[in-house]
Amino acid sequence: MLVSWNYRYRNSPMDHIDPRARFIFSFALLFSATTTWNPNILAGIFLIALIWYSLGRLTWKDTRFGWLMISIMLFTMIVVNTIITGGGAGGVVPEGGQLVWPAGFDLFGRHFTFGLTVERLWFAVSQLMRILSISLVFVMIPYTMDSRAYGVTFSKLGLPDRLAYTMELSFRFIPTLARNFQVTLDAQRARGFELDAGKGSLVQKVKKVAPLIIPVTMNAIVSSEDIANAMDLRGFGQQKRTWLYELKFHWWDWALIAFSILMLLVTLLLAYRFEMRLFSVPAWWYGLFD
């Protein structure tokens, strides 16, 4: 079983931005987007997220699995919960409102009534802008950030060395453990073990995976003692750690951090000082349903 990271160097603008600045921007956008339901602010944030995403020069082929997961999430949240059942809008949109089809509608020779309101439909648009903005920024991280950079990035962002090194070490173990998993799977198959997805009940599936998970886990634990001893012999944790992969801020990284702080401050100011925090429907939207 071959494990490969989704990252590859594309010589895109994103490849030249410091990972620390990228995380600061990503979290500033997350907090900005979740501060307000105002459509104008959300549209602005969505535009920023789109520009940010384009800097990664990602193709559909690269990111399709991520977008598939996001599509399932968006379908559940927006189509099922907000538009069809209305539950997804219950926390923000007030009860009542103007019906999209006040007299119902005819389909396949039958008459249907549907309680979808204009306000709920606009909320679905706002929800789409908010969740897509966050998704655009966060889904691209695995594809555009070198896995060697995570440990040093979190260390430089203030995470204790031991925790940052744990993260670094776990990246290194993945290919080895994936190989152990494949060896164990082959060995169990040679003994007549079958792991057919889609067959049997949930309990039967649980029973099927036990002969696979238990030996892989126990092997990993037994081998970890040797690694810990080797690290101790080399004086792990005796002094401040240095990192092979070095990070360096450029002027554009500082500019990005300044922009991130400004974006967050402006959003907070508009949301709390100018009362633009709550959900509202623009007048032109009502005009579409008159």
């Binding site: 999430m73 695995p142 029973k207």
Partner: protein, 190 residues
């Protein structure tokens, strides 16, 4: 070097020495690899939630090596699994997975022999509590992010994740604890 005491005397569950660094890294990598391998069992239609046999890994690492190791196994492991699968970076679900490992880790202070009935019952309680708190926090964050009401959060996010997690945890954790007890006694670990 601080060692995790697996049997016998009183444990320091908050120790984080070289052994714990390695256990946490191994646990996170194992959780990521197994999650990635089993990702074919995604539940269609349930937002953000997949059937994950590997969820037992942070629970077990918490029980065996303490709350910090359990938390890192779940938190970092989920980040790595999402990276391998190309799903992105979802901090609130990563934190939820960390809590699934953290709570059993708190129970590890009460567990000395992994194959005893009392230890297994404590492990099972920690599975339910950890899953409830971890998935509860992650699901509630969807209220903040997507503005969904409590009912939607409960039905679309919390219940599918919580129920599948406890099914895997309740069945697989005792098996892992018994297997680990055999390793502990065979290798003479203290």
């Amino acid at each position: 070097m601080e060692k995790t005491v697996t049997t016998g005397t009183k444990k320091n569950i908050w120790a984080f020495g070289t052994n714990q660094v390695v256990y946490a890294a191994i646990g996170a990598a194992l959780y990521a690899v197994l999650t990635w391998a089993f990702n074919i069992w995604q539940i269609p239609g349930a937002g953000n939630v997949g059937i994950r046999p590997a969820i037992v890994i942070p629970m077990f690492f918490g029980i065996a090596f303490g709350p910090i190791v359990g938390f890192i196994t779940g938190f970092v492991g989920n980040i790595l699994a999402d990276m391998l699968s190309g799903y992105g970076f979802w901090l609130w679900w990563d934190l939820g997975n960390g809590i699934i490992g953290l709570i059993p880790g708190l129970f590890s202070a009460l567990i000395y022999k992994y194959n005893e009935q009392k230890s297994i019952i404590l492990g099972e309680i920690s599975v339910v509590l950890g899953s409830a708190l971890g998935m509860g926090l992650a699901s509630l964050s969807e209220r903040w992010v997507s503005g969904a009401d409590m009912n939607t959060v409960l039905v679309a996010n919390f219940l599918p994740a919580f129920l599948t997690n406890i099914v895997w945890g309740l069945i697989l954790l005792p098996l892992l604890m018994i297997a680990y007890a055999a390793i502990v006694s065979r290798s003479g670990r203290s």
